[in-house]
Amino acid sequence: MTASHIFEVFLKAEGKSEFRHAGSLGAADREMALLLARECYSRRGEGHEIWVVRRDDIGVADTRDLSANFVKPHRMNDGKRVAEHRRSQREDE
């Protein structure tokens, strides 16, 4: 099975949770991957829905581009100043 394709498998559990990556498998095509995915990743009903995606079709972002956003304080607010203000008001009363 070396020349066949690798598919990434995503499961969605019942309820509000989002699809999550479960792992991968080898299959000749998408239909086969869907058929085989259940017994590889959902033997006890872990997935109420399953997606399979050819690994080759996944776009992967450059981590260096992503790291630029690891620290963006102007997009955050921890609420500390307002909390401090309110605390001091309560103390004044």
Binding site: M1, T2, A3, S4, H5, I6, G23, S24, L25, G26, A28, D29, M32, E39, C40, R43, V60, T63
Partner: protein, 302 residues
């Protein structure tokens, strides 16, 4: 993809709880060591499945056959997950790993070089052997600095939990059963106790890279000792004896102490020279060869 300037920087990253991912520029020594470890684990799951396979046709009940099939299916499923993760490390393809296993170039756990001789052996595997493997897997899962391995270990450890409970339920059945059943299980313990204890391996070397790199979280001898503390009283509680004349309780610590372990049988299995290694590998090779036309056909259709 992340890179590290040198091994010190990499090890500091691991010491800080960092997780390495498949596309990271990890040091080659780490890649090789972790790959070899996962491949060994994958091989062991597969060969464990083949050990159990021998007794599935003889399951004494339709429901039992269904349950044991599901358990062995999990082991095969674990092998699948592990081979996928190992292949992504870029050291060998899945096909190379299969060929290396079948041609005797790679190793697997000592216990799966032995033949299950009776139905009680099947249960001893589900109880004693799986428990030993489970303990060592949990100790890897606890830290495990290689992200993809840690994530599939969560699934594997979860499923082994079902196997543990099932295994003990089966022991209970034999323990509460007839004289024939009790004797059958005692004989199985006599065969499997030492291989199960040896599964943990000899004491970890002083500078085990697997410990230093947070793949293993605990030393072999510590895991082995904890296993003995748990399973000696469990088996005795069910009315069975441990095949170790020197087994005693340390009067000061209350700990169970074993006789010295003979490591020769373990060394033989590591050379694929265990009691049932040749037969099991030969069967697997023949079958792999005979189903090749189908794999080729599927590949052509891709």
């Amino acid at each position: 993809m992340r890179t590290w300037n040198d091994i010190e920087e990499f090890e500091a990253f691991l010491d800080g709880g960092g997780l390495v991912e498949a596309d990271d520029g990890m040091p080659d020594a780490f890649r090789q060591e972790v790959f070899r470890f996962i491949e060994f684990h994958a091989n062991s799951e597969l060969m464990g499945g083949l050990t159990e396979r021998d007794w599935i046709p003889h399951s004494p009940g339709v429901r039992l056959k269904q349950i044991f099939l599901a358990k062995t299916q999990d082991e095969i499923g674990h092998a699948h997950l592990l081979y996928m993760v190992a292949a992504d490390m870029g050291v060998k393809t899945r096909e190379q790993m299969t060929n290396d296993l079948l041609e005797g170039r790679t190793r697997f756990h000592n216990v799966f070089h032995y033949r299950a001789e009776t139905w009680a052996d099947q249960i001893a595997i589900a109880f004693l052997v799986d428990a030993a493997a489970f303990a060592s897997q949990r100790a890897v899962f606890a830290e495990c600095s290689y992200g993809p391995y840690k994530r599939i270990l969560r699934r594997i450890v979860g499923e082994e939990g079902f196997h543990m409970r099932h295994g003990e339920e089966m022991v209970l059945r034999l323990a509460n059963g007839s004289e024939t059943q009790r004797k059958l299980f005692q004989d199985a313990i006599n065969r499997w106790w030492w291989p199960a204890v040896q599964l943990f391996g000899p004491d970890s070397p002083p500078d085990d890279p697997l410990l230093r790199w947070h793949i293993k979280s605990e030393r072999n001898e510590v895991l082995r000792h904890a296993y003995v503390q748990k399973y000696v009283p469990l088996l005795q509680g069910y009315g069975f004896t441990i095949p170790d004349d020197g087994l005693h309780r340390d009067p000061d610590t209350g700990q169970w102490m074993m006789s010295a372990i003979d490591w020769e049988p373990l060394r033989a299995t590591l050379k694929n020279d265990g009691p049932d290694s040749a037969r099991r590998l030969a069967n697997a090779v023949r079958n792999h060869f005979e189903t090749r036309w189908f794999r080729d056909a599927i590949e052509v259709s891709a």
